[in-house]
């Protein structure tokens, strides 16, 4: 925040809409081109921007900076405009104040993506973006605060989990200043002295800055930064993944070690990364056909259902359950099996993020320049070839170069997970940390080997399975 220009921008009260407006305009262009542009995915801005550039830039920004996509979220811009006309009246139901709905939606999107080949359909990609806008308006039209962001948004949950590995965090500069503060504007909002009307909003996600730990649930909206009368909140550097090792009570979240929903989110995030990549490689053909024959079905949905159930439920239960049993037996951990699984599941996040990075950056970097001819084509199709005729020969970096980068991400992910596991093991079993470390490290090694195997599989850009 004290960096020239960038710091000035973030301190500016209208920084968020300033960043949201271009992304919103881009979303509208994607919707229009998706619905009315070329039906072929490689020639459409909706598919090219969504499935190549957005995803690639998103994970790289999360890795190198923080949750800046949520800061520039176009859906929140529309919500904010709508709230000028419709004031939400209800609080989000207490029973739903967890991540289970968003985990379900996250899995549903992964499932729909595979079943209907969303990457190859500009039409459905456009409708997915529209659906997002409508969902935000409906949820936050009825419910107060940032209910959609905190409890519903699957992209947001992805960002929250991944941003635990980011090098920047929104946090207080000096705790003493907060201790002396009586107004707590960062959570209550800055208010007019007499009317008590909120002039600058406090945190909508119930994160009270003095006791906020890490990036979980933080949308980087900067409301707290602008509300603090002492300029005591900033975007500060920190050690990535450090928040996964410690277990203090966190404002708006509680203890990580008691949040089964958050642990499930971390598990789905990690195993979903492998599953999503598995859907793009050759062996998935053989597996689907074999399963189809075994189940005597010709439709892909039940076969995918079996693969998803195995990958996101059976496999984690087997691997993590076994690791928990071994930890109790070898390291005499005082925790029961489920709390052990919950505690150590966060250590999978770096590995999972490494896989998401490798996968998304493969598409992003090998198709890096395709945005140029697709944009040229889109403008030329309007009758104004302002950027010239499309140069379809522009694609991206060579696959062999990108593969080196992919391996780097996977190695980085494994290293991060091992460091987190050891930190947890030292905390959990201070007398026998290595014995607690080994089972979980073995799980990570198995997943890492699977990731490496996936990365070396020939990719098949398929839109059909089950013998086509």
């Amino acid at each position: 925040m004290r960096v020239p220009v960038v710091g000035d921008l973030f301190r500016w009260r209208y920084a968020r809409p300033f960043l949201q407006i271009p992304v919103f305009v881009l979303s509208i262009i994607m919707i229009v081109h998706g619905l009315f542009g070329p039906t072929l995915a490689p020639k459409n801005l909706a598919t090219t921007l969504s499935w190549l550039h957005f995803r690639g830039i998103l994970v790289l920004v999360l890795l190198c900076a923080g949750n800046f996509f949520c800061l520039a979220c176009p859906f929140m811009l529309v919500r904010q405009m709508a709230r000028r006309f419709f004031r939400p009246r209800f609080n989000w139901p207490r029973a739903l104040r967890n991540k289970w709905i968003s985990i379900g939606l996250f899995v549903l999107i992964l499932f729909t993506y595979e079943l209907f080949d969303l990457w190859s359909s500009p039409w459905w990609t456009a409708w997915l973006i529209i659906a997002y806008f409508v969902s935000v308006l409906v949820v936050d039209g009825f419910f107060k605060h940032a209910s959609f962001c905190k409890f519903v948004c699957p992209i947001g949950q992805f960002n929250f989990v991944a941003s635990t590995l980011s090098p920047f965090e929104v946090k207080v500069r000096e705790q003493d200043v907060c201790t002396r503060c009586h107004t707590k504007d960062c959570i209550r909002g800055r208010r007019e002295p007499i009317s008590d009307l909120v002039t600058i909003r406090g945190c909508e996600l119930a994160l009270f800055q003095p006791s906020k730990v890490g990036n979980m649930d933080c949308t980087f909206c900067l409301d707290c930064v602008h509300a603090c009368p002492y300029d005591n909140i900033g975007i500060l550097s920190r050690l990535p993944a450090s928040e996964l090792i410690v277990d203090p009570i966190r404002s708006g979240i509680g203890y990580f070690s008691r949040r089964k929903d958050l642990a499930a989110l971390a598990i789905v995030f990690t195993f979903g990364a492998l599953l999503n990549a598995f859907g793009m490689v050759s062996p998935v053909y053989a597996l689907e056909n074999w399963l189809g024959r075994m189940l005597h079905v010709n439709h892909e949905a039940p076969v995918l259902g079996v693969i998803f159930t195995f990958s996101l439920i059976a496999e984690p239960i087997l691997l993590l359950g076994l690791a928990a049993v071994l930890t109790r037996a070898w390291a005499s951990s005082p925790r029961a099996l489920l709390p052990l699984v919950v505690r150590y599941s966060y250590s999978l996040v770096p590995l999972g993020f490494g896989m998401w990075l490798a996968h998304y950056c493969f598409h992003f970097l090998t198709g890096l320049y395709t945005l140029i001819p697709v944009t040229q084509n889109a403008i030329a199709s309007l009758g104004w070839p302002l950027l010239g005729q499309p140069r379809w020969s522009l694609t991206g970096l060579p696959a062999n170069v990108v593969q080196v980068i992919e391996i780097g991400f996977l190695v980085l992910g494994l290293a991060g997970s091992l460091v987190v596991i050891y930190g947890l093991a030292e905390d959990d079993s201070p007398n026998k940390p290595m014995r607690a470390f080994l089972p979980w490290a073995a799980v990570c090694l198995i997943l890492w080997c699977a990731s490496m195997w996936l990365m070396f599989q020939p990719m098949e850009m398929r839109a059909t399975m089950m013998s086509g």
Binding site: T39, L40, A41, P42, K43, N44, T47, T48, W51, L52, G104, L105, L108, I109, T112, L115, F116, D117, W119, S120, S121, W123, W124, W127, L128, I130, A131, Y132, V134, S135, V152, C153, P154, S282, Y285, H363, T366, G367, T370, V374, W392, S393, L394, T395, G396, P458, M459, E460, M461, R462, A463, T464, S467, G468
Partner: protein, 123 residues
């Protein structure tokens, strides 16, 4: 969001299809069959509405993958016999391909046809 995904699930069979104009009929054959990664040949037979072969057409073949991020492959077809054309190109990756035929008829009219080539297999 859930409703949207459910809508996609329920209505996936209803995606739009653009019917091509019936100026010409195109019969095609791709070799090797089934299609595999590597060099491939596509042969066409063009006939008009009355079923007569169309000679003297120019056909540019554009091969795209179904996924964004892949550059297209271009090839020009050569005429071989009455109404017969052939083009050589390369499937560079396994997966689903779409062949676009940009046809310029002898009279100058332009026609486009799309041929889906599903599941090109690796060698």
């Amino acid at each position: 969001m859930g409703l949207a995904c459910a809508a996609i699930l329920l209505t996936a069979g209803c995606s739009r299809r653009v019917a091509p104009p019936a100026l010409v009929a195109v019969e095609h054959e791709i070799s090797p069959a089934p299609a595999r990664v590597g060099p491939a040949t596509i042969g066409f037979k063009l006939t008009d509405a009355a079923g007569k072969p169309i000679t003297g057409a120019r056909i540019a073949v554009e091969a795209d993958m179904s996924h964004a991020g892949m550059g297209p492959v271009f090839a020009d077809a050569k005429e071989e016999g009455a109404g017969g054309y052939k083009a050589n190109f390369e499937f560079q990756m396994a997966g689903d391909w779409v062949l676009l035929l940009h046809i310029t008829l002898p009279g100058g009219e332009k026609v486009e046809r799309q041929i889906d080539v599903r599941g090109v297999r690796r060698n």
